[in-house]
């Protein structure tokens, strides 16, 4: 068929590029000469070379994402690739040049979809346990998380898992490549307090007490009753925000004017609680650490936050600038303080 003939055409060129023992020759011409001609990315030779790198599906076109998408859509029935179970359909073109297992069968495609769906669910389960819970779009792939643009052209191409087949969903030994003492660092520095008896044993004791209970008190402006939230049960800032909403939702309803319609109340509450973390809503979430300073929630890695937060507060955003000293303000104040202290000539420092 067309594909296999294109492949046959492509293969000899590939073989040309695979060197024999003596030389590394490109299509005609010594390697050095060939390479020295290439100055920039735009040179013709390079383009031809790049296009011939076994991407028969893309030989005729410029790398425009949209046209590639269309092509992939057209070729979507021919999917089955060498590796079970998951493969991205957009890379079908690239792989076809190298693999022989191209089958233009509708059933193959359906099987692929079913497999992808199953894998997607696996991934979804993994995500739940890791609590990055925003991507439950059926078979849609794991990262990127909250920061990434929510809809990209790539993801509009059907349900296509992005991760590779080789153990993508399962935790892999030694990946990501971080040395073990770094892996332990975040968890141990979060839970580790002054380790052995040193100067200040009383403080070590106080600190140990804090380590035990993960329930932190949380108060909200305007609500007289405080609650407690279990930080260990939340795995991320988003979860915490939801938990806070659950805790105080009822109170807000009770406090509001009972003549208002319930629906609008709920809508308003949703809005309030969804903006707790970014500071743009009516309320903002802050926390106090062991030293009594209030800081905005969201700046430090989650596990570090869990270990240091001693109290939480939901403040009205309007009050932030007055009552709350944010971290950077504290730092500036202290800096100013110290600079002032030390500018005084030769006074006794404590």
């Amino acid at each position: 068929m067309e594909e296999s003939s294109m492949k046959r055409e492509a293969m000899p060129r590939l073989l040309d590029l695979i060197p024999d023992e003596k030389e590394w020759s490109l299509r005609g011409g010594a390697p050095r000469q060939g390479r020295s001609k290439n100055t920039g990315f735009g040179s013709d030779e390079d383009e031809k070379l790049e296009l011939k790198l076994g991407l028969p599906g893309l030989v005729q076109e410029e790398p425009a994402a949209s046209s590639r998408e269309k092509r992939v859509h057209q070729e979507s029935p021919a999917l089955s690739l060498g590796y079970p179970p998951k493969h991205s359909t957009a890379t079908t073109g690239a792989k076809r040049g190298f693999l022989d297992t191209v089958e233009a069968k509708a059933q193959g495609y359906e099987k692929e979809q079913a497999r992808a769906a199953a894998c997607g669910k696996e991934l979804a389960v993994e995500e739940n346990t890791a609590a990055v819970g925003e991507r439950k779009k059926g078979c849609c792939p794991p990262p990127p998380p909250a920061h990434a643009p929510p809809a990209t052209p790539a993801r509009n191409i059907g349900n296509r898992p992005q991760a590779r087949g080789r153990g993508a969903a399962a935790p892999v030994v030694g990946w990501p490549p971080i040395r073990s003492f770094r892996r332990n660092l975040a968890s141990t520095s979060a839970s580790k307090q002054p380790p052995e008896p040193q100067i200040g044993e009383a403080d070590a004791k106080a600190v140990l007490d804090c380590k035990k209970s993960p329930l932190v008190k949380i108060n909200m402006d305007g609500i007289p009753i405080g609650r407690k939230v279990d930080l260990a049960a939340c795995d991320s800032y988003e979860r915490l925000s939801l938990a806070v909403k659950d805790l105080f939702h009822g109170f807000l309803q009770v406090q509001r004017d009972p003549s208002k319609v319930e629906r609008t109340q709920q809508g308003a509450d949703e809005k309030i609680f969804s903006q707790l973390l970014d500071g743009s809503g009516e309320y903002t979430l802050v926390y106090e650490d062991g030293e009594g300073d209030r800081m905005l929630v969201g700046d430090v890695p989650w596990n570090v936050f869990v270990s240091t937060a001693k109290r939480l507060r939901v403040l009205r955003s309007s009050e932030l600038s007055h009552g709350l000293v944010s971290g950077s303000c504290t730092f500036l104040l202290i800096c100013a303080d110290i600079r002032y202290m030390f500018r005084l000539p030769k006074l006794s420092h404590s």
Partner: protein
């Protein structure tokens, strides 16, 4: 000139210090080989099993400084089972017999026992420098022996090693009334440190230039240390400013102000935001800043701190600095040469740190960058192409996208084009580590363009044997090839049969090679040790898949300390 006196050659070679130049000189003729061997003072052994220690001493009888590396690099990521080998004992034994005047010993990824340290301490009275990088197997008792017996020790560096804690006494064992210590690094030590011993040690070490403390050292002690060692150039802080130590802060600030030579800072550990005033005092001189052990830092403080350090050349930081933080780095730290971003959270699926935007920002702002280690959650080809254009001086580029097999986050394509641009544009690239979804194309680019490449690390990449073949055939300067979880089989392995002797080592794990292929390689190349590391039983037939393969060239033949799970074919 037919006659060239040996003494002249010897004199000239005395000025040649680089290992490679000396290696080249020794190949000129027998005379030069002999003279070079007699005069070489510093020997670097990149694989402890490549040669027997006795042979090294026979060729270089006057050596004074020995550097030996042991386990393959993937041992750092728990891919090499414990007990694999790389014991320092044979090397110390041979040295003790042949070269008692040894002055410097540097070991990396080796197993060093307390007995070994004891032997060291008693055999080398002249020892000036002991550096144990990522080593294990010893305890603070061993350190005590070293401190007690090596009276002229200038440098004791335990970077990254695992040390068993058996007491705090070792710090008091250093010589009295004064020591020659110039550099002391025990940052990796778990366990308490005697404050008095430490303060007294620093007070009696007038030459101390580099001091890296572990996290057990509180603020008050740090303040006293800095007061007595104002000439410090490199400082790794202990635990700074926990609430109980807040009272010591002013003395710390005043002590830091006196350290006008301080240009390198690391440590911080659990220190929260109070550290920023400290850095503020020395930010003008700071060239190296390592905040990668400090997950407690808040993003806003990180940014505020780094913004002031305009002369920074080396920056190691965790990824919660975010893209916004990296943009600040790009605008403030124009002298930056090395940047390393580590993940704050090892949980692959939860990482939210930096993205390709940060990388692009840094590459356009910091034009002097030559070494990058970037851990991110997503990447795009166009970002990599931009980086390649901006920073063509890069010699070391390591990109770790936390979820393996990730595609271009915008187009959904594999990241072949991006890495292709990097190898093509960065002509001096010597070290490359890749991640993301990669097909055989990227290996073709590497084979074609990466002429200077010496170390290549590959994981979850490639489609077929062609990938590995391209690299083996193309990269003439390749020394270390590390592959994991790639679909390369026996054809690929055997394609490089005649390459491996020119390389230091090859590591392949979770690939498609079988025992039969490894046996063929071993049979064809007797100059290689083909080690199969396999912990599952299952017969020894040729079709059996090989879990882990480590191939290295050697003059020493099969090693005799191989444990049961290693079979040398």
């Amino acid at each position: 000139m037919p006659y060239f006196p040996d003494e002249v050659v010897e004199h000239i070679l005395g000025f040649v210090s680089s290992h490679r130049d000396r290696d080249a000189a020794s190949l000129v003729c027998h005379v030069w080989y002999r003279i070079e061997g007699l005069t070489r003072r510093s020997v670097f052994i990149s694989n402890c099993y490549a040669v027997r220690p006795e042979r090294v001493h026979a060729r270089f009888p006057c050596l004074r400084s020995l550097t030996v590396k042991g386990k393959p690099r993937f041992a750092d990521f728990n891919l090499v089972p414990a007990g694999w080998g790389a014991s320092a004992e044979p090397w110390v034994d041979a040295c003790a017999r042949a070269c008692p005047g040894l002055e410097e010993l540097r070991l990396k990824r080796m197993v060093v026992t307390d007995g070994c340290l004891n032997h060291l301490a008693h055999s080398f009275p002249n020892l000036r420098s002991l550096v144990l990088v990522s080593c294990e197997g010893f305890s603070t008792d061993g350190l005590a022996t070293i401190a007690t017996n090596c009276r002229f020790l200038k440098e004791l560096d335990l970077q990254g090693s695992q040390v068993e804690f058996r007491g705090r006494h070792w710090l008091s064992c250093f010589p009295k009334p004064s020591t020659s210590l110039e550099s002391l690094n025990f940052a990796c030590l778990d366990g308490a440190v005697s404050a008095n011993a430490l303060e007294s040690l620093v007070a009696r070490s007038p030459n101390l230039k580099s001091l890296r403390l572990n996290r057990a050292v509180p603020t008050a002690v740090l303040a006293k240390i800095l007061t007595s060692a104002p000439k410090l150039v490199d400082l790794g802080t202990g635990l700074v400013a926990q609430s109980n130590n807040a009272g010591a802060l002013p003395s710390l600030y005043s002590a830091i102000q006196q350290c006008t030579s301080l240009n390198s800072l690391s440590g911080f550990w659990d220190s929260p935001r109070w550290i920023t005033p400290i850095i503020h005092y020395i930010c003008k001189n700071l060239t190296c800043l390592n905040l990668s052990y400090a997950p407690m830092f808040r993003t806003v403080d990180l940014i505020g701190t780094i913004h002031q350090c305009q002369n920074l050349q080396h920056l190691w930081v965790l990824d919660h600095i975010g893209d916004a933080g990296l943009k600040v780095v790009a605008s403030s730290c124009l002298e930056l040469q090395e940047l390393r971003i580590f993940p704050a959270n090892a949980n692959v699926l939860a990482s939210t740190g930096v993205t390709e935007e940060g990388l692009v920002a840094v590459s356009s702002g910091c034009r002097k960058l030559n070494s990058m280690l970037y851990s991110c959650s997503r990447m795009t080809n166009s970002a990599l192409i931009t980086v390649a254009k901006n920073c063509s001086r890069i010699t070391s580029f390591r990109l770790h996208i936390c979820l393996h097999g990730s595609v271009d986050a915008v187009t959904g394509q594999p990241l072949d084009e991006g890495f292709g641009a990097i190898v093509r544009s960065c002509k001096g690239l010597r070290r490359l580590s890749m991640s993301g979804l990669l097909t055989d194309s990227v290996f073709l680019y590497i084979g074609m363009y990466a002429e200077r490449l010496e170390t290549l690390s590959v994981a979850f990449a490639g489609d077929s044997d062609d990938g590995m073949i391209y690299v083996l055939n193309g990269c003439k300067n390749l020394r270390k090839l590390e592959i994991r979880n790639c679909p390369f089989g026996n054809t690929a392995l055997l394609a490089g049969t005649h390459r491996y002797e020119a390389m230091r080592s090859l590591w392949m794990s979770s690939c498609d090679i079988t025992l039969g292929g490894c046996r063929s390689l071993a049979a064809a190349m007797p100059g290689l040790n083909v080690e199969v590391i396999s912990q599952a039983d299952g017969g020894a037939n040729d079709a059996k898949k090989v879990e882990k393969l480590y191939v290295y060239r050697t003059l020493a033949g099969p090693r005799d300390d191989a444990p049961g799970f290693v079979s040398i074919l």
